[in-house]
Subunit: 190 residues, 2 copies
DNA sequence: TCGTACATAGTCTATTTAGACTGTTAGAGT
DNA sequence: ACTCTAACAGTCTAAATAGACTATGTACGA
């Protein structure tokens, strides 16, 4: 039951991976998981196989061959086609040009921050900031060691972006917590 | 065919709206659209009706009554239950405490920025920054006039957050564009 | 050497979702 | 008075997704 619209966010990831090298779906998944938690979280197996099949029907990828090691299930290896390379560039360009308004979990929650009350809000926000800081430190370290190991900056650019946003978010949370504590942000009387 | 897991992002929005006042799905949708583009984009009608039905089965909302104006379809008005209020707070708290790694379109695209080549990347990034700036200016104005009209800051806090992130992203893009132009960020030879 | 846990590959189905479809009413323009 | 469009309110279905299920191979400790 292949899809028609093919506008799900992992299409780009699949095309991008195949630009580097031909691969089979299971391997793509492993690659995505290894590279980034956010990429990994965005895919499940069913979706990936389905997406690759649809990409195949759309002519953006093509079966390069079958492989098999031992008696394991046969692996179908896909490669990017020329049309696929063009589509990749087209989508890349458009997704960068158009800033979409993305609805993240945190944005959705912050909208109703009031329901936690001032104390609950400070509590929760403080913990988030704390966790963000820990994660940021770990990410910075990973980034630094990747660079030290010789990875070109272009290959880790999305980690830089993610770090930048995480720092901005942390700073914002800090300022909000501060404003609640000092009374610059108050709860309207109910 | 009501759902079981109820972990989709608009659950929180529905519970949050109902905390303010009882409402029927169509009205919730209008409210969401009016309040924020990101909220609006995150919902379609089918999903909303389905979600509300599931919320009802879970006991977090309850039918408050039917309304009808003229010969229009009957509107089923839902109200938050006490269990629903608790669930709202629980989810709010957890979604704020746990920073999830969210996979946005832009993050996915930036990962394969290399495929655009230095010139294409500068082109696309510059346009994004430009659009972001325009949108940010418009959002700032809307925020200011909402405040001027007497909206408590707590009620527009998510707009502040979104603005903060947008500014950080713009600054990051500017710096990357700069680095490409000056040669601080180069394309590895293929 | 046997069991047990985990990695490898992939398929399959029950939920979930997007968005087309239905029909009514209010208001604008002619 | 009459048409045309947009808002109202909801249902329905085809497509997309998550995650369980299958089945072999490998590594490790008991």
């Amino acid at each position: 039951m292949p899809r028609r619209t093919l506008d799900n966010p992992i299409v780009l990831a699949v095309l991008g991976l195949l630009l580097e090298q031909a691969s089979h779906p299971y391997q793509m998944l492993a690659e995505l998981r290894q590279r980034s938690d956010s990429h990994a979280a965005a895919v499940t197996r069913g979706t990936l196989y389905n997406t690759v099949a649809a990409l195949n029907e759309a002519g953006w990828v093509a079966v390069q061959g079958q492989q098999r090691s031992g008696n394991r299930p046969e692996r179908t290896v896909y490669a990017l086609t020329e049309a696929g390379r063009e589509e990749l560039v087209r989508r890349l360009d458009s997704q960068i040009r158009n800033p979409e308004r993305e609805f993240t979990r945190f944005l959705g929650a912050v909208t109703y921050l009031g329901a936690l009350g001032p104390d609950g809000a400070v509590e929760a926000l403080t913990e988030r900031a704390q966790r963000l800081r820990e994660r940021t430190a770990a990410d910075e370290e990973r980034l630094a060691s990747a660079r030290a190991a010789g990875a070109p900056r272009l290959f880790v650019i999305e980690a830089e972006y993610a770090l930048c946003l995480a720092r901005a978010e942390t700073a914002w949370i800090d300022s909000v917590v501060d404003d609640i504590r000092t009374g610059a942000l108050t709860w309207p009387a109910v």
